[in-house]
C-alpha cells in the first residue's frame, strides 16, 4: 500500500506534466475547435459565432478536394510501397547473411535525417527539366540507357504527388523493415524448423507461417505510416514549395492561416486532420494497451 506522503508526492511530481498535456493538447484542441466555429479572419482575434460554416465551405472548396485526392494518392503509394519494401528487406536480412547489420544500418539511416534535408536533395534528383537541361535521376537514366524511365516527377499532372511519396518511401521504408525484423525475430525458431521438417519451402514458410504471425506488425505499420501520410508537410514544402497541384491539408492549413489570415478556416482544417488521425490512432492505442495487459 502506498504511504500517504508518497502518494501525494507522486501526484505532485507528475501533475506539471499532466497539466501541460491537458492544456497544450486538450485545451488547445478545444480552443482550435472554438476558432473553427468562428468568423476569425485577419490579424485580430474574432470569436463571432459562425456555426459549422467553415467546415461546410471546405467541403465545397475545390482546393480542399485537391488536398483530399492528393492525400489519398500519397497514402496509397507511400503506405503500400513502404510496407512491401520494408517486408522484403526484412525477409532478406532474416536469412543470416554476412553483413546483415551493415545493410540494416544502411537501410535505416534516412530515418535520422530531417524531411527538409531529404526534400532539398530529392528536389534536385527529381529535376523535371528536359532536353539539354536534363539532370538528376533523369540524366542518370539517360546515361544508363534507361531513357524510358525518365519522367516529369512531381510535375506530372494529377499523379505528381506520387513522386513525393517515392522520397517518403526512401525515408521511411527502413522503419517498416525494422518493425518486421523485430517481428520475425520474435517468432520461435521451432516453428520454422517444424515446417522445414514437414517439407515446406522457404516461400511457403513465409507465406503461410510468418506472414499470418506478423499481422500485428503489419497493422502497426499501416496505422503509423497511415497517420504520418495524413500529416505530410515538410517533405512537400522542401521538394516543391507551396504549389497548388501538390497541395495537402497540412499545407493548406498553414498557408491559409499564417499567410492568408483565415484563422477560422485554418482551424477547421486542423480539426478535420485531427479527426482523421483519431479514427486510426484511438483504436490502436486501446488495442495496444489491452494486449499489453493481457501479455
Amino acid at each position: 500500500m502506498l504511504r500517504d506522503k508518497d502518494r501525494y508526492l507522486s501526484i505532485l511530481l507528475i501533475s506539471p506534466s499532466i497539466l501541460a498535456v491537458l492544456i497544450f493538447v486538450y485545451g488547445f484542441i478545444a480552443w482550435s475547435v472554438r476558432v473553427s466555429l468562428s468568423k476569425w479572419k485577419g490579424l485580430n482575434a474574432d470569436y463571432t459565432w459562425n456555426g459549422i460554416q467553415n467546415y461546410l465551405n471546405l467541403f465545397s472548396d475545390p482546393r480542399f478536394a485537391v488536398d483530399v485526392r492528393n492525400t489519398l494518392i500519397f497514402t496509397g503509394v507511400f503506405v503500400i510501397g513502404s510496407i512491401l519494401l520494408g517486408f522484403l528487406l526484412a525477409v532478406m536480412l532474416d536469412q543470416g547473411l554476412k553483413g546483415e547489420s551493415f545493410f540494416r544500418s544502411l537501410f535505416l539511416f534516412p530515418m535520422a535525417i530531417s524531411y527538409i534535408v531529404t526534400g532539398v536533395v530529392w528536389r534536385w534528383l527529381m529535376n523535371p527539366a528536359s532536353g539539354s537541361r536534363t539532370s538528376g535521376l533523369n540524366l542518370l537514366f539517360s546515361n544508363l540507357h534507361l531513357d524510358f524511365l525518365q519522367n516529369a516527377w512531381h510535375t506530372t499532372p494529377y499523379w505528381g504527388i506520387a513522386a513525393i511519396a517515392l522520397a517518403a518511401i526512401w525515408q521511411m521504408s527502413g522503419y517498416t523493415m525494422a518493425l518486421y525484423l523485430a517481428g520475425l525475430r520474435s517468432i520461435p525458431v521451432e516453428l520454422r524448423e517444424a515446417a522445414q521438417i514437414d517439407g515446406a519451402t522457404e516461400f511457403q514458410i513465409y507465406r503461410y507461417i510468418m506472414l499470418p504471425l506478423l499481422s500485428p506488425v503489419t497493422l502497426s505499420a499501416l496505422i503509423i505510416l497511415g497517420h504520418m501520410s495524413l500529416k505530410v508537410f515538410d517533405l512537400i514544402i522542401a521538394i516543391a514549395g507551396k504549389q497548388l497541384p501538390l497541395d495537402v491539408p497540412a499545407i493548406y492549413m498553414w498557408q491559409t492561416t499564417f499567410d492568408g489570415l483565415f484563422y477560422g478556416r485554418g482551424a477547421a482544417i486542423g480539426i478535420l486532420l485531427l479527426l482523421s488521425v483519431a479514427v486510426l490512432i484511438i483504436p490502436y492505442i486501446r488495442y495496444t494497451l489491452k494486449t499489453e495487459t493481457e501479455a
Binding site: I113, S114, W170, A178, L273
Partner: protein, 287 residues
C-alpha cells in the same frame, strides 16, 4: 542440400546491393556535389566525381548557416534534457507508483504524441506570442540579448515530447521486477529515495534512447520552428528550406548545406544507432 541453400542465399546479395545503392544515391549526390569546386559545378555533370576535395561549397554554406546551426543546438539540447527528465519521473510514477486513475491518464498522455500539430497550431502560436512579448520586452529593458522565440520553440518541444518520453520510461520501468522496490521499501526508502538510488542508476540506456530520440526529432522539426521563430532565431531546418527556395543560392551550396544540417543527427545515428532503433520501435508503441 545445406550447401545448395547457402549458395542460393548468396544470390540475395544482388537485390540487397541494388537496394543499398538506392538508399545511398542521395548521400552520393550530396557528397560529390559538396566536394566539387565552384568551377566544376554543372547540373549536366552532377553524377561525376569531383576532381579533388574542395571545400568551397561547405565554406559558403557554413557562412550562411552557422548562426542557425548554433540556434538549433541552443534549442535542442535543453529541450532534449528537460523532456527526458520529465519522462523519466512520469514513467516511474506511472509504472511503479500508481495512484488511482494512473491507468486512465496514460492513454490520454499517449494520444498527444500522435495528434497532427495543425490542430493545436493556432492556439500555440497565439499563446507563445502572448508570453514571449512581455518576456522579450523585459530582457530588452535589462539589456540582455535573449532568443525568446527559440526558448518558446524549446518549450513546445519539451511539452509535446512528454508523451513519447513518458512512454519509453514507463515501459522500461514496468519491465523491472516489483521485488526490486519492495526490498528497498522494507529498508525504509521512500519514493524519491527509491527513484534516486535504485531506478536512476539503471536508467542510463533508457536515457540515451530518449535523449537521442528527442534530439533527433527537435533537430529535424520544421513545422513548430517555422511558425514560432523569427528570422534571426531560425533553426537550421527553416534556414535550409529558405536557402533552397531562394533563386540566388546555387544548388551546390544547397547540397553542402543539407549535409551540414544532417550531420549532427547522422553522427548520433552512426555512433549510437542501436539506441536510435529502440527509440524508433518505442514510437510505434512496440518498445
Amino acid at each position: 542440400m545445406k550447401m545448395k541453400s547457402r549458395l542460393a542465399k548468396n544470390w540475395l546479395y544482388v537485390p540487397l546491393i541494388l537496394m543499398a545503392v538506392f538508399y545511398l544515391i542521395p548521400m552520393y549526390v550530396m557528397l560529390v556535389t559538396g566536394f566539387k569546386s565552384f568551377a566544376e559545378i554543372d547540373l549536366k555533370t552532377m553524377w561525376n566525381l569531383p576532381s579533388g576535395i574542395h571545400f568551397d561549397n561547405f565554406i559558403e554554406a557554413f557562412s550562411k548557416l552557422s548562426p542557425h546551426l548554433w540556434n538549433s543546438f541552443l534549442m535542442v539540447i535543453p529541450a532534449a534534457l528537460i523532456s527526458s527528465a520529465l519522462g523519466s519521473l512520469n514513467g516511474f510514477i506511472l509504472a511503479k507508483w500508481k495512484f488511482r486513475g494512473a491507468d486512465v491518464i496514460f492513454p490520454f498522455i499517449l494520444f498527444g504524441m500522435f495528434i497532427p500539430y495543425q490542430s493545436i497550431l493556432i492556439p500555440l502560436v497565439v499563446f507563445m506570442r502572448t508570453i514571449t512579448m512581455p518576456v522579450g520586452a523585459f530582457f530588452q529593458s535589462v539589456g540582455i540579448d535573449f532568443p525568446v522565440s527559440l526558448a518558446a520553440l524549446a518549450l513546445a518541444h519539451i511539452i509535446y515530447g512528454i508523451p513519447i518520453t513518458t512512454l519509453t520510461f514507463r515501459n522500461y520501468y514496468a519491465s523491472l521486477p516489483q521485488e526490486l522496490l519492495e526490498a528497498a521499501k522494507i529498508d525504509g526508502a521512500d519514493m524519491l529515495g527509491i527513484y534516486r538510488w535504485i531506478l536512476l542508476p539503471i536508467s542510463l540506456p533508457s536515457f540515451v534512447v530518449v535523449l537521442i530520440w528527442q534530439f533527433t526529432s527537435a533537430w529535424n522539426d520544421f513545422l513548430f520552428a517555422v511558425v514560432l521563430t523569427g528570422n534571426s532565431d531560425w533553426p537550421i531546418t527553416v534556414a535550409l528550406n529558405n536557402m533552397a527556395g531562394s533563386q540566388i543560392i546555387a544548388w551546390n551550396v544547397q547540397m553542402a548545406g543539407s549535409l551540414l544540417a544532417a550531420l549532427p543527427t547522422l553522427l548520433v545515428y552512426i555512433f549510437l544507432g542501436r539506441y536510435f532503433l529502440r527509440g524508433l520501435l518505442a514510437g510505434s508503441l512496440k518498445g
